[in-house]
């Protein structure tokens, strides 16, 4: 078995875990992060993309709200390129409680969240589709955050500061030394099928909704309250400002414009299992109905996708509904709590507060490690900030400037061939879904209809060219990761050349499996919202992959990847399979 020695082992490659690795590395600590799938595959990559102003929790959870506004100001500097300054409206509709708006404004003032009441006429000028029956509107500094890019940038900053980040490495067991100490973890390298033992005087459990399962392997009880939230994406930016209902936080009360879409969120249902991501039909109905309150007629828009994430909420000895559980962050010091040293668990919080969660966690870890190093993440920018915020219009401009029209592999999101090739070279690719998170492949209206085949063909080409050119100077994946600027990965103009370095291609799957997995992965998120024009689009995708390609009858039809089983879980609870005695 392979052994790794380090000072800090971080479990979980979401925003929080990556933030912890970054903070630790900046403090000069040796740190290794393990993530069982791809970075952001968990809750971080499954949220609506709101950068909180704090307005949403200002009445209900003022402490959380004040953390949000402080972090909002910091992240706009440290992760500037990942944040779009959309601003946010809090809209009181005639159906909402009439007293809440005044409470809301007072609470914002008290905490220091900039909040300005604006006239309905002015608000409608900015957002013409907003409910014209709105009674009052307040403007706050909400924003939209690209959680994929932010986490990748944080991870890159961490790597540059010396952190090791291992995705597709799953913790199977926390290692204990007697009853009173955790000394690291046994980890499964999913791609190679090897076990690794990672030893560290401090292990940080940042597995979010999975944190209870991790703690359990050391015999510790952590009752995470997994609160599943479903979201829907409209196929274009039906609003350009974040729209919130001005009332106590509830189901379906927010619309976030992010990149090319607008996201309707969210529901909140306490679930037993953090991997329970299947959407219930009532969730779709509720989101459409409530969405119509903010933007009348939004239920008749074209939706391209639905997904769910599971919030890692935590409240000691809590038995209620997840909607009412606190959004506050909690650091569990298992030495103080359970008499087990060498382990901290960080829970709760919001994406917006990930940096603060890392700071608090590392402060405690440093106490135990006897390292008196201050946190500098609030004043340190991550790589990519220099590029500024990147949106589809930039890609279009660069494609036109450089005449890259025929290079477009994904026309919906303007991904070029070289962008895909470089991303595949720089980032261990187990599925096309990993590349989707890197370059937004397959995220537009056709949901992989055209680009899945092209990506499989291009990756197969890379494999062939690698087999034919035997290279003597193969650099390691990690050293390349240091040169790689994730912000540049978003830009066609920074990827005019195909990859030149002869990196070992970290693709373990057959092209047929890549293709099948990605089509199924896209299908999962389409199932809940297939009607109208998106159903027509999907029928075209069927024509391509069944009729034209006969893809179900490709060789290796029964091969599976580490992700196949996950993708095969139904996207919505109601399917025709139920008739035949359950899914599958």
């Amino acid at each position: 078995m392979k052994f790794i020695e380090t000072q800090i082992l971080v479990i979980g490659g979401g925003a929080t875990g990556t933030g912890i690795a970054w903070d630790a590395a900046l403090r000069g600590l040796r740190v290794v992060l393990v993530e069982k799938r791809d970075l952001t595959h968990g809750t971080t990559g499954r949220y609506h993309g709101l950068l909180h102003s704090g307005g949403r929790y200002v009445v209900k959870d003022p402490h959380s709200a004040s953390e949000c506004i402080a972090e909002n100001r910091i992240l706009r500097k440290t992760h500037a390129h990942c944040i779009e300054d959309t601003g946010g409206f809090f809209v009181a509709t005639p159906e909402d409680d009439g007293d809440y708006p005044d409470q809301f404004r007072a609470a914002c003032q008290h905490i220091g969240i900039p909040c300005e009441e604006i006239s309905i006429a002015h608000a409608r000028k900015r957002e013409p589709l907003m409910n014209p029956r709105a009674a009052r509107v307040f403007g706050v500094p909400d924003g939209a955050a690209d959680s994929f890019q932010a986490t990748h940038s944080t991870a890159q900053a961490a790597r540059q500061a010396g952190a090791r980040i291992l995705n597709y490495h799953e913790v199977t067991q926390l290692l204990r030394d007697g009853d009173q100490r955790v000394v690291g973890a046994r980890v499964r390298d999913v791609a190679r099928g090897e076990d690794i033992e990672i030893r560290a005087p401090m292990t940080i459990n940042a597995a979010g909704a999975w944190a209870g399962l991790i703690a359990q392997t050391a015999g510790l009880r952590v009752d995470v309250i997994p609160g599943k939230g479903a979201m829907l994406a409209v196929n274009h930016r039906i609003v350009n400002t974040v729209l919130n209902r001005c009332k106590m936080p509830d189901d379906g009360d927010i619309i976030v414009p992010i990149h090319t879409v607008a996201v309707l969120g969210t529901t909140d249902e306490r679930v037993a299992d953090p991997e329970h991501l299947t959407i219930e039909p009532w969730e779709i109905e509720l989101l459409l109905r409530e969405g119509d309150q903010l933007v009348p007629g939004i239920s008749r828009a074209r939706f391209v996708r639905a997904w769910a994430g599971v919030r890692p909420l935590y409240q000691e000895h809590y038995n209620g509904a997840s909607r009412d559980a606190t959004r506050d962050l909690t650091l569990l010091d298992h030495h103080a709590r359970d008499g087990v040293a060498g382990l901290l668990t960080i829970l709760g919080g919001k994406w917006t507060t990930f940096r603060l969660m890392a700071e608090i966690t590392l402060n405690k870890a440093c106490e135990y490690l006897g390292a008196q190093k201050p946190c500098i993440t609030a004043h340190t920018v991550v790589p990519g900030v220099e590029h500024g915020h990147y949106w589809l219009g930039h890609r279009l401009h660069e494609v036109e400037e450089n005449h890259l029209q025929s290079e477009l592999i994904c026309e919906c999101e303007l991904v070029t061939r070289a962008m895909l090739e470089n991303a595949a070279r720089q980032h261990p690719t187990f599925s096309l879904d990993d590349l989707r998170r890197d370059v937004r492949l397959g995220m537009g209206p056709c949901q992989g209809g055209f680009c899945t085949y092209r990506a499989a063909g291009i990756l197969q080409s890379l494999v062939v060219s690698q087999q034919s050119s035997v290279s003597s100077e193969q650099s390691s994946v990690n050293s390349a990761a240091e040169e790689w600027n994730v912000a540049e990965m978003q830009s066609p103009a920074h990827n005019l050349q195909p990859p030149t370095s002869n990196l070992p291609l970290p693709i373990s799957n057959s092209p047929n499996l890549l293709l099948r997995d990605f089509l199924q992965e896209r299908w999962k998120g389409l199932l809940p919202i297939l009607w109208g024009r998106q159903l027509k689009q999907e029928r075209l995708d069927e024509l391509i992959y069944l009729g034209l390609m006969n893809a179900p009858h490709l060789p290796d039809a029964h091969a599976t990847s580490a992700m196949s089983e996950f993708y095969a879980r139904p996207g919505i609870a109601a399917t025709a399979d139920a008739d035949a005695g359950g899914a599958q």
């Binding site: 039909p281 592999i409 197969q460 062939v464 029928r539 893809a551 009858h553």
Partner: protein, 420 residues
């Protein structure tokens, strides 16, 4: 006055209009857009798989008799052997007449196996001439040639998968600028570029250098548009090799060739084809539809006719629409549909489930004369017929029957309409 208005310019509509025009009727097609032929492989898929079966059908004409037993309302069951045979014979003659000959397997009645753009074997019944040499029952080795930088065709992937299935195949590339200097390249533009004799001569001489003796050459389906026959013949002559086209990602050049040829032929027969006409209303008195109305600039346009033939495609063609409440409707006449009752029954959890997704079997129920009927089996209108992908009780894509359903039902519906 127009005798027959066909709504829809996909394969079903074109075939129906052609048959009616051949029989001497005054015909007009009005259509919102073009059909699925523009997206598909350009071959005639008749029947490749039964729902829930993963083993392909070898003899589709025999298999149709089984369908008639198990699914008596399936369009093929409604048609029966004689009408299917007649429609296919008619199509073969028509295809020859318009300069795009199609043919089937050597043993009459068998499916052909042709390489798909991903290198799978796809079952089809009739192939255009340019696809025939790709037949996978043959043993000669294949050289799959792509154009470096072309995004809709991947020879290495095709060769790899053909190899895994026991076929001898290798991949090679030619530079894209042999054919075009353009930056925004689609299959259609490449096909038009090869209509130019100078370019295809250059292309042929480079191609010849790649091929080894005894190899047949597979190329993306871009071998000429208007001058396809010349392009194909010259490439074979100059390379001295057998050449075959492999369909590409849409748009489909072989599909467009077929559509263009059929439309030209209709024009010669004196029938109009008007595209970009969205039907927005109709008027019926008693059991007869008197006119339909299409959207136009200025004011809507009325189309009066004695008879109307619906060939609007199913969900993919826009003939059937759905919404988030689970409602499903026929878009022209609001005809009764056969469909799963609620949204929860529309789909299966797996995209590639061999049982198919129930919503895609939704459609218009018809009687044996292809006239739409209601839940009690009663005819809805005395002068309306339906054909193609809009019909209920079959899933033409899952069953690999897309063109077969279009041709056979289009042909039959036109014949029934002509008799009344």
């Amino acid at each position: 006055m127009t005798e027959l208005v066909v709504i829809g310019a996909g394969l079903a509509g074109l075939i129906a209009a052609t048959r009616a025009a051949q029989a001497g009727h005054q015909v007009k097609i009005i259509a919102k857009g073009l059909g699925a032929t523009h997206w598909h492989a350009g071959s005639v898929d008749l029947l490749g798989y039964f729902p829930n079966e993963t083993v392909a059908i070898q003899r589709p004409l025999d298999a149709m008799r089984d369908i008639a037993r198990v699914q008596p309302q399936h369009p093929y069951a409604l048609l029966g052997d004689a009408q299917i045979g007649d429609a296919l014979k008619n199509f073969l003659a028509l295809a020859r007449a318009i300069g795009l000959p199609y043919s089937g397997a050597n043993q009459d009645g068998d499916n052909l196996w042709l390489p798909s753009p991903v290198g799978a074997a796809r079952p089809t019944f009739l192939a255009p001439r340019a696809q025939r040499a790709g037949e996978l029952s043959r043993t000669e080795p294949m050289l799959i040639v792509g154009l470096r930088g072309m995004r809709d065709f991947y020879p290495e992937l095709i060769a790899e998968n053909l190899g895994k299935q026991g076929h001898r195949a290798r991949a090679a590339f030619l530079p894209l600028d042999l054919i075009t200097d353009r930056r925004d390249i689609t299959t259609v533009q490449l096909a038009y570029a090869l209509d130019d004799p100078a370019r295809r001569e250059k292309f042929a001489s480079e191609l010849k250098k790649l091929a080894q003796s005894g190899e047949r050459i597979g190329l993306p389906a871009i071998l000429g548009m208007d001058a396809h026959a010349d392009t194909f013949d010259e490439l074979q002559a100059q390379t001295g090799a057998e050449i075959f086209e492999i369909p590409t990602l849409p748009p489909s050049v072989p599909g467009i060739r077929l559509t263009n040829a059929l439309r030209n032929h209709l024009r010669e027969l004196g029938a109009r084809v008007d595209v970009n006409m969205d039907v927005i209303a109709f008027h019926a008195e008693g059991a007869r539809v008197l006119w339909i109305e299409s959207e136009a600039s200025g004011r809507p346009l009325k189309h009066r006719a004695e008879k109307f033939l619906l060939a609007t495609g199913g969900i993919i063609g826009g003939g059937i629409n759905t919404d988030h409440t689970g409602k499903i409707w026929e878009t022209i006449f609001g005809l009764p549909l056969v469909a799963p009752r609620e949204r929860g029954q529309w789909f299966r959890a797996r995209f590639f489930d061999p049982a198919g997704h129930p919503i895609f079997r939704a459609g218009i129920p018809v009687n044996r004369e292809f006239q739409p009927i209601d839940a009690n089996g009663a005819r809805v209108f005395a002068n309306v017929w339906a054909a193609g992908g809009t019909l209920a009780h079959c899933d033409p894509i899952l069953e690999r029957a897309l063109e077969g359903i279009a041709i056979t039902t289009g042909s039959a519906a036109a014949c029934f309409a002509g008799r009344k």
